[in-house]
């Protein structure tokens, strides 16, 4: 859904303009949505709330992460994933005051950690946030020039060759402000398209030698896609951050389930 909003912005400069859509519905595991007959307002609203949260964090405001709404699958009476069912029962027991004191205490610690991770996730948009602010203030060309000067962005790269998941690009000079292991977004600057909605691919820097930079893309398919879509365009590299939300949340979930297994009497967690 977020990508659909981005596509609206890319082609119509207005994320709420669905007029250029060539298909009638979006089919997703959460349901089927018909943009033109306004069945997606609830989902778009959720995206806006999440985006506002990220924006407020980046603007330095003291905001609290919101507890997420329950998954739309379960809300509609369908059977959700095991994880989803687990948290629903957990929440139900909490409201009924049935949680043992120790488990309740641990649950609070788990949720505090989850909220901290969500907040950090918001901060991973930092570079895009800076780009967006500068573009609004100075216009795209001047913003890119300033960002290039500060090392957030670098441009004038040309595609040399690729080898498996690696891609080698040549810069215009030897002063490439990137180091190995940094995560970057390779943006193909398209004519008449806003910079942040241009075609892009994420990669990590493997090596920088003189004016040559070696990037590692996620997969060979990503390299093939980038070759077809990106490398004929003017290439800009923007610093990016790795999203570790999922890998950080998984261990918390494992221990939360263990705590429930130990402290909640058998049968309580059954629906």
């Amino acid at each position: 859904m977020q990508n659909s909003l981005l596509a609206n912005y890319r082609y119509c400069l207005n994320e709420n303009d669905w007029s250029k859509y060539r298909f009638s519905c979006i089919v997703h595991y959460t349901g089927a949505y018909f943009p033109r007959i306004e069945t997606i307002e609830k989902e778009v609203e959720k995206i806006r709330i999440n985006r506002k949260f990220a924006h407020d964090v980046l603007c330095g405001m003291r905001v609290h992460a919101l507890r997420p709404n329950f998954c739309p699958v379960c809300d509609k009476g369908l059977e959700g994933s095991k994880e989803c069912q687990f948290y629903q029962r957990d929440a139900r027991l909490f409201h009924e005051g049935m949680l043992p004191a120790q488990y309740d205490k641990l649950t609070r610690q788990f949720f505090a950690k989850r909220y901290a991770i969500l907040k950090e996730r918001a901060e991973t948009h930092l570079h895009k946030h800076v780009v967006s602010i500068l573009i609004d203030r100075y216009g795209e060309e001047e913003a890119i020039r300033r960002l290039e000067k500060t090392g957030i962005m670098c441009r004038k790269f040309t595609y040399d060759f690729d080898d498996g998941e690696k891609v080698i690009l040549s810069g215009a000079d030897n002063d490439i402000p990137l180091e190995p292991r940094k995560i970057v977004r390779i943006i193909g600057k398209e004519k008449d398209k806003p910079l942040l909605s241009c075609i892009s691919e994420q990669a990590s820097v493997m090596e920088v030698i003189n004016n040559k930079i070696t990037l590692s893309l996620r997969s060979k398919i990503a390299v093939r896609r980038a070759k077809r879509q990106l490398f004929d365009l003017s290439i800009i590299l923007l610093r990016d951050e790795l999203n570790l939300t999922r890998s950080m949340l998984r261990p918390i979930h494992t221990f939360h389930k263990l705590a429930a297994d130990i402290f909640i009497p058998q049968g309580f967690m059954m629906s």
Binding site: Q102, L106, G151, E179, R181, E207, L244, R250, I252, T254
Partner: protein
């Protein structure tokens, strides 16, 4: 032969004979990584554990583990017993320990070294790798959620079953929960050397959680810092008893002063362990949270050039808080063809060098010191050196620094830049040298 000091011996014995999660605090140079490597070898070789996991947050710290293991075990044994897993470009290929992400290969080895972020490769649902014991290094920079990734690989289902049968009412935190679920881990770190990146002031780091909820012990003898520097670090970070090992205490830089240019003699002065080069450069902002100082960068490179001339065998490291300054310094070093490590304070954790040059970068009329004013960053920067520490930057700036306010505008309790400046200005800990004209322009 590796000899353990009484502290290390006591802690090793304690950790071999006890289960659960425990913490070991190690001030700079106290042999945290060596201790971790030795513990892993002892656990495996004496049959206390079948498979041990060594985890660090950064690749450089994980490589340090590999280095220690290959020194203690030797080339063949380390190749046979150990495997380095994770992100291939981050692993040090010069070490004999093989690299692999193949679970079948990893399962055949007894000691596995990995970074926290790469642990997900080992925890695939269908075929996870289990560990009887784990050692987690540099836990000062990690948060509690980082600790949980390795802990997942140490859960003992039998322990969980036993817990279910006799619910323990002593479990009040996630650390205690993991401990009762059969996780056996030694969490090593120093809250005075590192803080989790981007965390709130009130948010505890992983090591602070362990200190709060589990048993802990401390190492007090440093094998890196000579006496003057150990005393400076002890007083600066308030370690309450950090001392140099007797064989290290009197160590000084040995260099032929006649080969050093006249302008640099006071700076490289081998009689003083700590020298502050008072240089009034101008800070420049780079990006949303980084800074650089061109004059300081050039001064650092010139000093390196001079040291390399006089003592080519000595290892040199340049430390800075800011990634942009590291880039600028690396660029100048590359132009001169000098091979010198340039690290940020985060990257420098767990590393050491004969000579360390610390560039402060910040210098402004408002005396706003920013992120470099923290205890952890300053402590790391001044405690990497084995023979000589050179601080490059404005002394007046540090002496009158206004540290960054906490959230809600609360004034911090301590002014660490000022404390450092005062300690160095005392004759016994170091000397302040005015920058010669050649470095001022």
């Amino acid at each position: 032969m590796i000899y353990l000091n009484p502290d290390q011996h006591r802690i090793l014995k304690w950790r071999i004979n006890s289960g659960g999660i425990a913490g070991v605090i190690g001030p700079p140079g106290c042999g945290k990584t060596t201790f971790g490597a030795l513990q892993a070898i002892k656990l495996v070789s004496e049959g206390y554990a079948n498979r041990v996991l060594l985890v660090a947050l950064t690749n450089s710290a994980a490589n340090e583990f590999s280095r220690e293991l290959s020194i203690v075990l030797g080339r063949d044994a380390s190749k046979f017993m150990c495997v380095r897993s994770g992100y291939a470009p981050g692993a040090d290929n010069s070490l004999p320990i093989p690299f692999s992400n193949e679970l079948d290969v990893i399962k055949k080895k007894q000691i596995v070294i990995c970074t926290t972020q790469s642990l997900k490769r080992l925890s695939r649902k269908s075929n996870p790798v289990r560990f009887d014991n784990m050692i987690i290094d540099e836990a000062g920079i990690e948060r509690l959620e980082h600790l949980l990734s390795p802990f997942v690989l140490g859960i003992n289902q039998l322990g969980v079953q036993m817990m279910k049968e006799s619910i323990s009412y002593g479990v009040n935190s996630i650390i205690e929960l993991a401990s009762t679920c059969g996780v056996v881990a030694t969490v090593v770190g120093d809250p005075k050397q590192s803080r989790p990146i981007r965390s709130e002031d009130y948010d505890l780091s992983a090591i602070e959680w362990v200190l709060k909820c589990a048993k802990c012990d401390t190492l007090y003898t440093t094998y890196r810092l000579p006496d003057d520097l150990a005393m400076l670090v002890n007083e600066f970070a308030d370690y309450q008893g950090l001392t140099s090992a007797p064989e290290i205490a009197g160590r000084r830089l040995v260099v032929d002063c006649n080969t050093i240019d006249k302008e640099f003699r006071n700076i490289i002065n081998p009689d003083k362990v700590v020298t502050w080069l008072d240089l009034d450069g101008t800070e420049e902002m780079a990006g949303p949270s980084s800074w650089y100082n061109d004059l300081e960068a050039r001064a650092c490179v010139r000093i390196c050039h001079e040291i390399k001339k006089a003592a080519p065998s000595k290892s040199i490291m340049i430390v800075t808080r800011y990634a942009e300054q590291r880039r600028i310094v690396s660029k100048y070093l590359q132009q001169l063809g000098l091979r010198v490590r340039v690290l940020t304070t985060v990257g420098a954790l767990g590393t050491q060098s004969d000579i360390v040059i610390f560039t402060i970068v910040r210098n402004n009329p408002e005396r706003r010191i920013g992120a470099i004013g923290s205890l952890q960053d300053l402590n790391v920067a001044i405690s990497r050196s084995k023979e000589k520490l050179i601080i490059v930057g404005s002394f007046d700036m540090m002496l009158n620094a206004k540290p960054r306010l906490h959230n809600l505008g609360v004034q911090p309790k301590h002014n660490f830049p000022q404390k450092l400046a005062r300690l160095v200005s005392k004759e016994k800990y170091g000397e302040i040298v005015e920058a010669p004209p050649i470095l001022r322009y």
